[in-house]
């Protein structure tokens, strides 16, 4: 009994050393040496070297001048991610979708893209579909006084069609697209400063 317990404890110590010290340390060193940017969270910085977001994490956008990401059940809280967990027959879900469609001024003739009316699984989905971007293009172009063709060009440039060979849908990173938009019209930076 005592011998068996001591052996079990010794095995715990040794396996802890292997799995919880040696292994993560090795991964950490390799990660920091080979892929330092990814290891820190793919952070995006502005010219002043301040972090303005992560390329992988959705950020909230509400102004007409910006493309909006998918709805988030956790209000884009990147420290407490999650989905809505609403079942398909839950009236709450149908209500939420109806409200979002209304906010997007959808009508039976101009239907809202499905990804813009449903909450993502993580609440932090950084992508929207090309349909969802096209749907918002007019609004953004008008708000920014940009030609609609230019906005479409930016959408096209930001459409990621990689990994189609493994069945990945085409997708657009909203934060990157919005940063491109801000770069497009230097004036908008002063607008940002003004609002702040």
């Amino acid at each position: 009994m005592i011998r068996e317990s001591l052996r079990a404890l010794a095995a715990c110590l040794i396996t802890f050393g292997l799995c919880a010290v040696a292994y993560p340390a090795t991964v950490w060193i390799l990660a920091q040496v080979v892929f330092p940017d990814q290891a820190e969270g793919s952070l995006i910085k502005n010219q002043e070297r301040e972090v303005i977001g992560s390329a992988l994490i959705a950020q909230p956008f509400a102004s007409d001048r910006y493309f909006q990401p998918r709805p988030s059940a956790v209000d884009y809280n990147a420290s407490a991610a999650g989905g809505s967990n609403l079942g398909t027959h839950n009236p709450d879900l149908a209500n939420k979708i109806a409200k979002r469609a209304e906010a997007l001024s959808a009508s039976p003739e101009v239907v809202a893209p499905i990804d813009l009316v449903t909450a993502s699984g993580s609440g932090l989905d950084p992508h929207i579909t090309p349909e969802a971007a096209t749907y918002q293009a007019n609004r953004v172009a008008t708000a920014r006084n940009l030609p609609i063709e230019r906005v479409r060009q930016l959408i096209e440039r930001n459409t990621d069609r990689s990994a189609a060979v493994i069945g990945a849908p085409p997708r657009i990173n909203v934060l990157k697209l919005n940063i491109d938009l801000d770069d497009e019209k230097p004036l908008s930076k002063s607008v940002v400063a003004e609002v702040r």
Binding site: L9, T15, S63, L86, G87, I114
Partner: protein, 584 residues
């Protein structure tokens, strides 16, 4: 919305692990089943050196009882230490975001009253969950755990518990082939860790960092948002941490417990379609390879291929049903001015509905339990597939644990076949008698008993107040939680507010009942068969390596499964599907 190449995802998700499992299974047989006289020679010197550190110079010859005792003693030690580490996490290092004790999480009771004081039940549940290789999480990783707890407690248990399952499978196989010496638990443990789990996890972890999964000990970062004025969110605190190390072993070790609350749905755990496929293919890799390995150990490769084929058939059928159900529009969008596309609630654009449904089927069949979409928001029939695969609990299932469960079905199948032809049933040249059949029936009965019993108690009392959705879907949430706990899966219909003493204690007990009897009863059967004399094979012997037996086994699994679970499934997802959609 649906890309035309979406079907390529499930194709790769099946092709890659199947192709890799054959060489890997052979390699595992060579490295893990070393004859005593060759122990410590060549590359085996590494695990034997580690065994020396715990005072083992040569492998012991253990009987099934000694083996089970060693395994239980090790698990008991894991339980105690992990409990301590989680309980005192606020006093331990590597806690840059100052996470408090798990015991002070607080919870709401059935009447909706908030309690903020001590709730050690959540620690009990977490430890049960990770010691049983389940990873049901009633806490939320990025909110409640320090980096030390994630790496020290969670990653550690994610390595040693699948290794322990593999060990029991090795011992069972040795018994089935007639060895009196079932091997040495600790030697098997070190070999499994050093030759299989550690190298696989290391390669996967580094690859995942390359694809964008963070691996840092820096604190959460504050980002200055671009549209702060309009959204009233001026800064966004982005939680990060040593994610890659955890995600890698979570996927290869049939663990499934996420670093973040939403698991592999979170962009930091699963940033691109490539990481999605890599993680998805990692889920069934070792469960598949372990079945191939069984063929080498039993010196009966055809028999292992029959088992493999039965499991693969069930998985393929489940996967196709889930995909077909999930590309349908959600009932919640009917009649609204939205694109009549697939159900995207709880899903991520970079994966889409097909890859999400594929993942849902594979993760539940294999006892993994990680998710890349929110199962609670799946269309009802797509949500039924994961439930059914966990109820059957033999579709590859855990590493080792899957074979142990299937062995019980095999015993029942040969018993029924024996009754049909009026002969004493035999399995692998040994007579199967009442003791083995009793043990097998007991092992098979615990599973539906804890699932249906638990769900019935919670659905009939005030504890059902914790569900998040009305009607049949609410019952599905309760049923899913107990199924996931009993099958040691760990996924959930996460709308269920399960972090409160009633759920923590009930599922904690179900977790233990789902794990240890399912490992020990098959081991006892193998130990009992090992001592029997081999009967000569005649023309009347029931062959276990042909299509007839495959059909027999498939029929047994489906029949026993349907008899046990059909009523519960009808009350849950089937009723949910038949309900007319709610009108806003």
């Amino acid at each position: 919305m649906e890309s035309s190449t979406a079907w390529l995802n499930p194709t790769w998700a099946f092709a890659l692990p199947i192709a890799a499992s054959f060489p890997l299974g052979w390699l595992m047989a060579r490295l893990l089943d070393v004859p005593t006289n060759r122990a410590g020679k060549g590359i085996d010197a590494i695990p034997m050196f580690v065994c020396r550190l715990i005072g083992k110079k040569t492998p012991e010859a253990m009987s099934w009882k000694q083996y089970a005792y060693a395994m239980l003693a090790f698990n008991a030690a894991l339980f105690v230490i992990a409990f301590g580490l989680l309980y005192f996490q606020q006093s331990l290092p590597l806690n840059p975001d100052d996470k408090g004790s798990l015991a002070t999480l607080g919870y709401k009771d059935a009447a909706g009253l908030a309690h903020d004081g001590a709730d050690t039940a959540v620690i009990f549940n977490t430890v049960c969950s990770f010691v049983t290789n389940t990873n049901l999480q009633h806490y939320s990783g990025e909110q409640n755990l320090s980096y030390f707890s994630q790496i020290g407690s969670i990653v550690w248990l994610m390595f040693v518990t699948p290794a322990a399952g593999l060990c029991v499978m090795l011992a069972t196989l040795r018994g089935l082939r007639g060895d009196r010496d079932l091997g040495d638990f600790y030697v098997d443990l070190m070999r499994s860790l050093i030759f299989v789990l550690l190298p696989l996890a290391l390669v996967l972890a580094v690859a995942l960092v390359g694809l964008g999964v963070p691996m840092t000990f820096g604190p959460a970062t504050k980002a200055i948002t671009l549209d702060g004025a309009a959204t009233k969110v001026e800064t966004q605190a982005i939680a990060r941490g040593p994610v890659a190390a955890l995600v890698a072993i979570k996927q290869v070790g049939t663990n499934g417990g996420g670093y973040f609350g939403p698991n592999s749905t979170h962009p930091f755990e699963n940033p691109t379609p490539w990481s999605g496929l890599l993680e998805l293919a990692s889920i069934p890799l070792l469960p598949m390879a372990s079945i191939i390995m069984a063929g080498y150990l039993l010196r009966d490769r055809k028999h292992s291929l029959v088992i493999f084929g039965v499991m693969l058939t069930l998985l393929l059928v489940g996967c196709v049903i889930a995909i077909l159900a999930e590309v349908q529009p959600s009932a919640a969008t009917l009649g609204l001015p939205v694109h009549s596309g697939p159900n995207m609630e709880g899903k991520e654009v970079r994966f889409g509905p097909v890859a999400s449904a594929t993942w849902a089927a594979i993760t539940t069949a294999t006892s993994n339990g990680s998710v890349n979409s929110m199962h609670d928001s799946l269309n009802p029939i797509a949500g039924m597939v994961p439930m059914v695969l966990m109820m059957l609990n033999v579709v590859f299932s855990g590493i080792g644990a899957g074979f142990e469960n299937m062995l019980m079905y095999i015993i029942v199948a040969v018993f029924i076949a024996g009754l049909m032809v009026g002969r004493t049933p035999e399995y692998l040249g040994k007579k199967v008698e009442s003791k083995e059949v009793k043990l097998a029936m007991l092992a098979l009965l615990i599973h539906p008993l804890v699932i249906c019993g638990g769900a019935a108690i919670f659905a009939a009392t005030s504890w059902k107040a914790f569900v998040a959705n009305p009607g049949a879907h609410g019952f599905s949430e309760i049923l899913y939680e107990f199924t996931s706990a009993a099958a040691n899966n760990g996924s959930g219909f996460e709308g269920l507010a399960d972090n409160n003493p009633a759920w923590n204690i009930a599922t904690g007990i179900v977790l233990l009942l789902g794990r240890f009897p399912a490992l020990i009863f098959p081991l006892a059967v193998a130990g009992s068969l090992a001592t029997k004399k081999r009967v000569p094979q005649t023309t009347g012997t029931l062959r276990t390596d042909n299509l007839t037996f495959a059909g027999m086994l498939l029929g047994t699994v489906i029949l026993v499964g349907a008899l046990s679970f059909m009523p519960a499934v009808v009350l849950g997802p089937v009723a949910d599907q038949l309900t007319s959609p709610a009108k806003p």
